[in-house]
Each structure stands twice: as structure tokens, then as C-alpha cells.
């Protein structure tokens, strides 16, 4: 048995070596970044463990790691379609948070993009809607909580609504700006080529031309929406969710748990942003090489 494995290892030794050397090259290239993060952790550990010496006031790095292990080892029952499953609570929390986030962001896209488009394309509609939008926009998303509860109730859609409020304006405004900024020469070139109706011009010229601006709006909107998430889960829209767990841990004075949820929220936000950026730059906006949005 062992002999067989050794044989395989022997056969694949070139590949294995090349993987290792690739890792070493990468580590070498990123040595400054890695060192920076590593020293930050060391400083944090020293301050927490030897200066503050209070787990409630500032959990140390190791406290946080142990808290994280404790959190992922907790299970909950998940019953879907008659199936009873044991899954980590953290998994359910992630699922719920992403669900609230998805509801809010999708509705913001579905409403923000069309409104921004028609506002940017038709001057009359801009004059009709612009002042209204400018009046509602400065209201902080969290100020909508009371009405969200009264109108929608304590359910996932109320949390989605808050995220929607946070996300819809960046999307709308950026779509609008993108449409306003469509270069006249593209519109005229399209007209001369036989693309004449408003529908066609929007579909074939304005929309692709405004896409970089819309994509930038979506990125901002995702950031704002993610920030609204914790507040949206605060007022009890469900029994799961990263924000909800954070508030509950705070009530239970488990500050190490609070810190873990904070970090998870941060990393998840980063991940979502990176995925979006990868998709947008790599697929959607290949034609704008070298331009960072």
C-alpha cells in the first residue's frame, strides 16, 4: 500500500516540485504584505495579552481563534423538504445574511438601473424625478427601520428593504451619470448606421457605454448594502444571521465572539467585492483594459 503511494509520488515528483516552487515564488513576491499582516497580528496579541489583559475589553488573537473554533463547532438543525440535517450554525448564519443581502441588492438593481436609465436618457423624466430622488436620498438608510417594521413586519424582507434603501441610490445615480455621459459621437455614429429609435439607442449604445459607470455603482452599492446588513439584523428579523449573532453575543458579553463575527463580516465583504471585480474586469469590461474601477 505504502509502496504504491510512494510510486505515485515518485512519478509525480516533477509536478509536486513545481507546485512547491510556485508557492515559494508567490510567498517571496508577497513577502512585504505577508510580513505586514503577520506583524499586525503579533502587535495585537502583545497588546491584548500583556497590556490590556482583559478578554472582555480586547480579546487577543488566540482568544479570537479559539472563539472561532467554538463557533464553527456548534451545530443546528436544518430542515429542508423533510430532510433533517445537522449543519454548523455559522453556515446557517451565512445563508441568512446572504439571503437578506441578496433580496436587498437584487431589488435595488431591478429598480435602480431602469430608473437611472430613463432619467439619464429623457431630460423630462430627469426633471420630474431628480428633485424627488435628491430629497429622499440623504435620509440615512437606518432611519427607515421604524417604517420597515410597520410596513413589512419582522421578516427577511424588512432587512432586505433596508439594504435596498442603502444600495438603490448609488446604483441609480451611477446609471444616471453613465447615461448622461454617453459620448455624442457614439450616438450619432449609431444613428447614421441605422440605429434610430430610443429603444435601440439605449439598448445598443447607451447601455454598453454606461456599463463601467453602472458597474462602479454596483460596487459602491454592495459596500453600502453590506454595512446596512448588521443594522438590519439588529431588530430581530430572524433567528439566524451574522449580524444577529453578533448582537446576541454582545448581549451575552462574549466579546471574543463579537470580534469573530466582525471579522467574518469583513472578510465576506472583501470576498464579494473581489468576486464582483474579477467578473466585471475580466468578462464584462474587457474592452476597458487598464482602467481600474
Amino acid at each position: 500500500m505504502i509502496q504504491k503511494y510512494l510510486q505515485i509520488l515518485n512519478k509525480k515528483r516533477v509536478e509536486i516540485l513545481s507546485i512547491f516552487s510556485a508557492i515559494i515564488v508567490w510567498l517571496h513576491k508577497k513577502r512585504v504584505e505577508i510580513l505586514s499582516i503577520f506583524s499586525a497580528i503579533v502587535v495585537w496579541q502583545i497588546i491584548a495579552a500583556y497590556i490590556v489583559q482583559n478578554k472582555f475589553f480586547l480579546p487577543s488573537f488566540t482568544d479570537t481563534v479559539f472563539a472561532f473554533i467554538e463557533i464553527i463547532s456548534r451545530d443546528a438543525n436544518l430542515a429542508i423538504m423533510g430532510l433533517d440535517m445537522q449543519v454548523p450554525v455559522l453556515f446557517l448564519d451565512l445563508l441568512y445574511s446572504l439571503m437578506y443581502f441578496g433580496i436587498g441588492l437584487l431589488s435595488a438593481l431591478a429598480i435602480g438601473i431602469p430608473i437611472g436609465m430613463i432619467m439619464g436618457w429623457f431630460p423630462t423624466i430627469e426633471r420630474m424625478l431628480d428633485s424627488l430622488v435628491e430629497l429622499i436620498r440623504p435620509i440615512p438608510p437606518l432611519a427607515w427601520i421604524p417604517f420597515a417594521i410597520i410596513w413589512i413586519g419582522l421578516n427577511p424582507f424588512a432587512a432586505g428593504f433596508l439594504i435596498f434603501i442603502g444600495a438603490v441610490f448609488p446604483i441609480m445615480i451611477n446609471t444616471f451619470t453613465g447615461f448622461k455621459g454617453v459620448s455624442k459621437v457614439y450616438v450619432e455614429a449609431a444613428k447614421v448606421l441605422g440605429c434610430n429609435t430610443n429603444m435601440e439607442l439605449i439598448r445598443y449604445v447607451a447601455l454598453p457605454s454606461a456599463l463601467p459607470s453602472i458597474a462602479a455603482g454596483i460596487r459602491i452599492a454592495m459596500g453600502v448594502g453590506w454595512m446596512c446588513l448588521v443594522a438590519a439584523e439588529m431588530f430581530g428579523v430572524g433567528r439566524y444571521g451574522l449580524g444577529y449573532q453578533m448582537w446576541r453575543s454582545s448581549d451575552l458579553h462574549r466579546m471574543d465572539f463579537v470580534l469573530v463575527y466582525m471579522l467574518i463580516l469583513g472578510f465576506l465583504g472583501l470576498l464579494i467585492d473581489r468576486l464582483l471585480r474579477y467578473y466585471i474586469d475580466g468578462k464584462l469590461l474587457k474592452w476597458r483594459k487598464g482602467v481600474v474601477i
Binding site: Y186, E188, A189, A190, V192, G194, Y204, P208, S209, W287
Partner: protein, 252 residues
């Protein structure tokens, strides 16, 4: 056919209530089928405005323009246009830019592609078929713009200082290429330029315009044999005459 008749076209640009600029003042002009006409004049003489009215992008205040006895009201695929600014859609590849016009008139993508390859070959950019405009040089961009305009098979090609932003060498090469295309395709070309040199090299007929109000000052037939020699004595005599006439205009 690409017979163009401009009759009594006037275009005013309103500045404010009582003030306006007379960009075109009662212009009449006949352009025969397959003729190469260059418009030369000081800046602000309305040559671009005239071209835009022919394209259908602007409307005259008075007068009308007929293409083969059909009145021009809107932009249409029977008139192709090449702009001075780079007007390729940056989000489309070269080939997708070229098939844009045919696709708009409802031709299936497969047929449009087949058709577009020919025009790509005509401007000699086959190896840039799938490149995006940002990957092309200025001269290549204008070549693609010409191919894109031709893909609709227009009877008139309108060119608004298409080589104005290019360096002198590229400019000369593109002028040669344009003449080649013109001979192959047999279409009418209206070409706006501020370069007398370019006009003398290209045109059958040069329309010399004067500014404020924009009027036709003189129409000069260029009977030099083709292919033309840029430095021949006859060309120099013509250039000299046109430049002097232009200078008079600028002094006014």
C-alpha cells in the same frame, strides 16, 4: 446611385434671442453619381454643418436635399459617415463594429459576418478582426470606421475630416487607400477637409467655402489625371491658387 442635389439650404444657429450665426446661407450644389467632392474652407464656414445635414443628423432651416430624388429627412443606411473623432464603439471588437450597421437593418449575424470579412479585407485589417478599438492605432481606427460605414453599402460616403487627427505619413497612406476603395466601390464621396493638399490629391471637384455667412465661394474642377502626383507642377499651381483664395477669406 448616389446623385445628390442640395437646393437653397440655410441653417442658422441661434445664440440668444436676437443673435444668430448664419452657418449656411442659401447653398445650392449638385453632386453627380460616383463623384469625389472635397469641401475646403476656413473653420466655421459650415462645411461640417452641410455634411451633417446630408447625413440627416441636423435639419436645415430652409431648403432641402435630395438623394436620387428622395428627400433627406433622417439618417439612413444609404448614407455612411466617417467622423473626425474616433467613433468606433469601444465595447465592440473590430468585426462587431463592422457588422453593427447590417445587424441594425435586420441581417442575420452569420450573413453579416460573411459580408463584413470582405470589408475587413478591403481595409487590410484581417489580423485585427477580434481586437478591441483600444488596441488599434489612430490610422487603423479610421480604417475600421471606413469599413463600418461601407458595410451598409451606402451610395454616398460622408467624411468629416476623417484623417485630421493622423500624422502626415499615415494620412498619405490612408488617402491612397481611400482612392483605391473609391475606385473599387464606385460610390459618391463628400469629404470635408481643411488641408488643400489633401483636397487636390483626392477630389474631382473642390467646393471652396467662405465663412460667416457660410457660402460657396467657388467650385474648382480638378482635371488632373489619376493616379496623381502630389508634387507635380499642375498640382502646385492649383494648390497655390486655392491657398490664395483661402487667405483672402481668412483676412476678411
Amino acid at each position: 446611385m448616389g446623385r445628390l442635389k442640395v437646393s437653397n439650404v440655410t441653417r442658422r444657429f441661434i445664440k440668444d434671442k436676437n443673435d444668430f450665426v448664419l452657418a449656411l446661407d442659401n447653398i445650392s450644389l449638385d453632386v453627380a453619381d460616383k463623384e469625389f467632392v472635397c469641401f475646403v474652407g476656413p473653420s466655421g464656414c459650415g462645411k461640417t454643418t452641410l455634411l451633417r445635414i446630408v447625413a440627416g443628423l441636423d435639419k436645415p432651416d430652409e431648403g432641402e436635399i435630395f438623394l436620387d430624388d428622395k428627400k433627406i429627412e433622417n439618417p439612413g443606411p444609404d448614407r455612411g459617415m466617417v467622423f473626425q473623432e474616433y467613433s468606433l464603439f469601444p465595447w465592440k471588437t473590430v468585426i462587431d463594429n463592422i457588422i453593427f450597421g447590417p445587424q441594425m437593418s435586420g441581417i442575420k449575424k452569420k450573413d453579416a459576418l460573411e459580408h463584413a470579412e470582405k470589408y475587413l479585407e478591403l481595409v487590410g485589417l484581417q489580423q485585427f478582426r477580434d481586437s478591441y478599438p483600444y488596441e488599434l492605432s489612430g490610422g487603423m481606427k479610421q480604417r475600421v470606421a471606413i469599413a463600418r460605414a461601407l458595410a451598409n453599402e451606402p451610395s454616398v460616403l460622408l467624411m468629416d475630416e476623417p484623417f485630421g487627427a493622423l500624422d502626415a505619413q499615415t494620412r498619405n497612406i490612408l488617402q491612397q487607400e481611400l482612392l483605391g476603395i473609391w475606385l473599387k466601390k464606385h460610390i459618391t464621396i463628400l469629404f470635408v477637409t481643411h488641408s488643400v493638399d489633401e483636397a487636390v490629391f483626392l477630389a474631382d471637384k473642390i467646393v471652396l467655402m467662405s465663412a460667416r455667412p457660410g457660402k460657396i465661394k467657388e467650385i474648382i474642377n480638378i482635371d488632373l489625371p489619376r493616379p496623381r502626383d502630389r508634387t507635380s507642377l499642375e498640382a502646385n499651381v492649383l494648390r497655390d491658387r486655392i491657398l490664395k483664395s483661402l487667405l483672402e477669406e481668412q483676412k476678411k
